[in-house]
């Protein structure tokens, strides 16, 4: 059951991710990315990360990507043009090597006997996250809130109509 679920959503994620890369129109890429995020949310659930799964959908898919879509619509951006040099020659071999190495080491470092089953880890609920967040990780949490504030100010300053 878990394997089937994993395979289905891993497949969706990979296909959508490929789509992100190959689609020429940004809005198609954005929608594919939403697909990746959605399937990742399911995988998170499988890993017992309920809260992160919900946050993934609410924050990532529901807010950040909407922002992307909004901007794409606002700029009325069309399909991209083939201009400038291509990085296919240095990039593609490097990527293949990178991926191969990573996959190899992952397989070596994590022998197949560590298994994931649904329900194998149940401490990913909002309560546990909240407790950790407001005790051990209070300082990072506060720092991120400051970061968000700075980001808001920065975004407003940047997006202002006229910059005196």
């Amino acid at each position: 059951m878990d394997v089937i679920l994993f395979l289905i959503f891993a497949l969706i994620a990979v296909v959508c991710a490929i789509n992100v890369v190959v689609q020429t129109h940004p809005i198609s890429s954005a929608l594919s990315l939403v697909g990746v995020m959605g399937s990742l949310a399911i995988l998170y659930l499988l890993l017992g990360a309920e809260f992160i799964a919900a946050a993934q959908v609410i924050v990532y898919a529901g807010a950040i990507m909407v922002l992307f879509v909004f901007v794409i619509m606002l700029l009325n951006a069309g399909a991209e043009t083939k201009k400038g040099r291509s990085y296919l020659i240095p990039g593609a071999p490097l990527l293949v090597v990178f991926l191969g190495l990573t996959a190899y080491y992952v397989q070596r470092l994590f022998p197949a006997n560590t298994m994931v089953t649904f329900g194998g880890f149940t401490k990913g609920g909002p309560r546990e996250i909240g407790e950790a967040l407001f005790t051990t990780y209070l300082l990072p949490f506060e720092v991120t809130s400051v970061l968000i504030l700075v980001a808001i100010v920065g975004a407003i300053v940047l997006a202002r109509k006229e910059i005196e």
Binding site: D2, P26, L33, V36, Y87, V106, Q107, A151
Partner: protein
Amino acid sequence: MMTAVPISWFLTLSAILFALGVAGFLFRRNIITVFMSIELMLNAVNLSFVTFSYQHKEVAGHLFTFFVMVVAAAEAAVGLAIILTVFKNRSTLNIDDVNSMKN
């Protein structure tokens, strides 16, 4: 019938997604798509975090994921604002046209 998934599968998936993100970054020319590729990489990393969290039966990985999300939100806000400004000033979204750092 195998009912459990080896943990390395998750990590491999994460690696694949990350590589695809890098590919998007390298091969695409539209700033917004490039930006989205970064988001894809972040997502891939998040998946590893959550997987590690499962492996160690620790909630810490979730928190890192959470922080990554928050930072991604901030980054998206500022980044998109920058893109808007760039587009306003240059009326192009091609990343190779934005090269005033050169020279």
